[in-house]
């Protein structure tokens, strides 16, 4: 009797296990060296073959004289997903870069492209530690995605300036690789260092703006508030929302992080204030007068003292605006509050986030109201005399900044195959910026970015957002510190001042002292020739 019972039990257990196995579904594997292990892999190979075949007749370079070479590539958030087939459980697969990798290897059978999936970019500190260790052990990747030129002062990166003057061999009739990109991107920190060397190749642009404000349309209508277009409008909206018992503004980031933690690189400084204050001082800050402040001009201006708070009224005014926002616009306790649930319930007026949130926000059926999306409101003359009158586009963004850009770590590349490795890395990046290939990547990003390559279409997910006027953000920057350590110390001082833990005069002195140390440290690290600069301290 017991035996019979046990048999039945075993049978039921087996059935359940089998069911669980089937329910979990098949997960298609993707090896990092591209071996085929399912029918779907051959589907990707078919597309890769079509792409490779489309280069028949092109005069492609001979990489590493035809000898074998392997490059390790980290592509940040456009690295392909391990799963290739979208399922309801894992709908977000990313295959385009995998297809391009295979097509590239079909074109250059002597080149092996391997994905470097374990690069730690969770924070700049983590990245620094990771790369330092990997470089010492000879296992660092050859291509990385790591905040553009932010770590150029470490001397790690390959200088693309010369190769950009030559044609991209994957583009018909291209005379100069650089011509594929809008020229203003070469002045941004995402691409160039303080010596104006191009140390990162950009492959995409922010989706109009890097960040946006999502607002509760129904609440705004109920309280008769207009969607803020200017910095001052933002204060008016926040005041009304707070006065009516709502959470006015939810800064980006989880409790204690992102814009809830005060720093010199707050989004307000980068997108709503800094460029506008700097543009008004163009005579001092744009040395060649071309209307675009390059990274070398930014550093020179800092070295010459034009960003010190104790000696420049406009700088003082800019930081005061930051303090004003954090002390009057936000609800008390914002640092450690999580407003996500309250947003869904309609209790938050404005939610700050990246454009990367937009696709999921459009699909969120838990939200009980209609939302609107606007670019970050910029400061205008109604807030301060230290900016020019704000200008807007008729519709659509103005000079979006690079989103993803890639560096070649030259020491790593040299250790993994010398010049041949660098040749392969450069060719792979040229391949990613070929218009059709680049569009394939952008389309798979589903509205998180737009292409940086001239002539490319705008993803359909963004056409609605781009119907509104955008502020014309000047091509000027605001330094929040040049080295990682310096920026952290300056941020701490800023935070103490915003929280009224130090006085105005203490803030000015301590902030500038730290900034001066940071500048001198940077001069040494980058070996910048400052003999032609006027020292501002």
């Amino acid at each position: 009797m017991v035996k019979c019972f046990l048999r039945i039990l075993s049978l039921i257990s087996c059935c359940l296990m089998l069911f669980a196995l089937v329910s979990c579904g098949k997960t298609e594997g993707k090896s990092d060296t591209g071996s085929k292990d399912s029918d779907n892999l051959s589907e990707l190979d078919k597309v890769a073959r079509e792409i490779a075949d489309s280069y028949a007749g092109f005069d492609l370079p001979k990489i590493n004289d035809g000898k074998p070479v392997t490059i390790k590539v980290h592509l940040g958030d456009i690295i392909p997903t391990l799963s290739e087939i979208p399922t309801a459980e894992q709908p977000d697969v990313f295959n385009s870069t995998e297809i391009l990798r295979r097509a590239f290897m079909m074109l250059f059978p002597n080149v092996t492209v391997e994905w470097a999936r374990t690069v730690d970019t969770s924070s700049s500190d983590a990245f620094l530690q990771y790369i330092t260790t990997q470089l010492n052990s000879g296992t660092a990747p050859d291509i990385v995605s790591a905040w553009g030129a932010s770590f150029a002062y470490r001397g790690w990166y390959y200088d693309f300036t010369e190769v950009l003057e030559k044609p991209n061999p994957f583009v018909k009739d291209n005379k100069r690789w650089r011509d594929q990109f809008p020229e203003y991107v070469f002045a941004t920190w995402q691409v160039s260092d303080a010596k104006d060397r191009v140390v990162a190749i950009p492959v995409s642009l922010a989706a109009g703006t890097s960040t946006a404000l999502y607002y509760n349309k129904e609440l705004f209508s109920k309280l008769s508030i207009n969607a803020p277009k200017t910095w001052e409008d933002l204060f008016t909206a926040c005041k009304t929302l707070l006065g009516n018992g709502y959470i006015s503004f939810s800064p980006w980031g989880g409790p204690g992080s992102g814009n809830r933690k005060i720093s010199t690189t707050l989004w307000d400084v980068q997108f709503s204030l800094g460029p506008y204050y700097a543009a008004k001082q163009k005579d001092k800050l744009d040395y060649n007068g071309d209307g675009i402040q390059s990274q070398s001009e930014l550093f020179r201006a800092a070295y010459e003292g034009h960003y010190f708070v104790s000696t420049n009224d406009y700088v003082w005014d800019m930081w005061k605006q930051v303090k004003r926002k954090y002390t009057t616009c936000l609800e008390k306790g914002y640092e450690n509050s999580d407003y996500e649930t309250k947003w869904l319930l309609g209790k938050v007026g404005i939610l700050e986030d990246g454009l990367w949130r937009y696709p999921s926000e459009l699909s969120n059926t838990d939200r009980q109201f209609e939302f609107g999306i606007i670019p970050p409101p910029a400061i205008d003359t109604d807030s301060t005399e230290f900016v020019d009158k704000l200008e807007y586009t008729e519709s659509g963004p103005y000079r979006p900044v690079p989103r993803a850009s890639f560096n070649i770590i030259k020491d790593s590349a040299m250790a993994h195959g010398g010049e041949g490795n660098i040749q392969a890395c450069v060719a792979f990046l040229q391949f990613l910026t070929q218009p059709d290939n680049n569009n394939m990547i952008i389309n798979e990003e589903k509205g998180k970015s737009i292409s940086i390559i001239k002539g490319s279409k705008v993803p359909p997910q963004l056409t609605e957002y781009f119907k509104q006027p955008f502020p014309k953000t000047p091509s000027f920057s605001w330094p929040g510190g040049f080295t990682n350590a310096g920026a952290e110390k300056m941020s701490k001082i800023l935070e103490l001042w915003v929280k009224d833990q130090i006085s105005d005069s203490e803030f000015k002195k301590q902030f500038d002292d730290e900034f001066k140390k940071d500048i001198m440290e940077f001069v040494q690290l980058m070996q910048i020739d400052t003999s032609q600069y006027k020292k501002g301290f």
Partner: protein, 174 residues
């Protein structure tokens, strides 16, 4: 089982084994749990079979393989007897490229829902390939995720004019 070990003066070891829970009772408990799981599966399977997702129309069809196109997919969710299923959350997934404006949509009072699909862009060197989509009802299961779903193949054709009349990124550079 509890194991009691006794050692006498001569060093001889005696082991006494005593059952704490009778094996029959254990089997009853385990089989009870299994029957419960099986019942939960059965209920959700039954519920899944009671609901049907119908693709009513796809427009335009065939659809040009261009992200400039908005392909409207109208669906209806009904029970076996034909009664509409209102307020259910439908999830759409493209298995062959392209994207949905919103991948979650709720059915209205009559069980209707509408998805907007953006096709992939066809490069000049490729032939159009049809796109399979899957739509499933995520509000139907109670215990275990067993969703009623439907698969539909959208016929794709090469766009008549490859020049986009939509926005291009150059519009934002100056």
């Amino acid at each position: 089982m509890n194991r009691h070990r006794l050692i006498d003066l001569t060093g001889e070891i005696t082991l006494k084994l005593r059952g704490v829970v009778p094996i029959k009772r254990k089997l009853i408990v385990i089989s009870g749990i299994l029957i419960l799981i099986a019942a939960m599966l059965g209920i959700d399977y039954f519920r899944m079979k009671q609901v049907e997702i119908q693709v009513l129309s796809v427009s335009p069809s065939p659809a040009p393989a261009s992200s400039d196109e908005n392909v409207e997919i109208r669906v209806r969710v009904v029970r076996k007897g034909g009664q509409p299923v209102a307020g259910h959350l439908l999830y759409a997934l493209s298995l062959g490229g392209g994207d949905f404006q919103s991948f979650y949509v709720k059915t209205d009072g009559d069980g209707y829902a509408k998805f907007i699909y953006y096709p992939y862009d066809l490069p000049s060197y490729q032939k159009p390939r049809d796109v399979e989509i899957e739509i499933r009802d995520e509000s139907n299961s109670i215990f275990i995720e067993m969703y009623p779903k439907v698969r539909y193949t959208i016929k794709m054709v090469a766009p008549e004019n490859s020049d986009s009349d939509g926005l291009i990124v150059d519009d934002f550079f100056d």
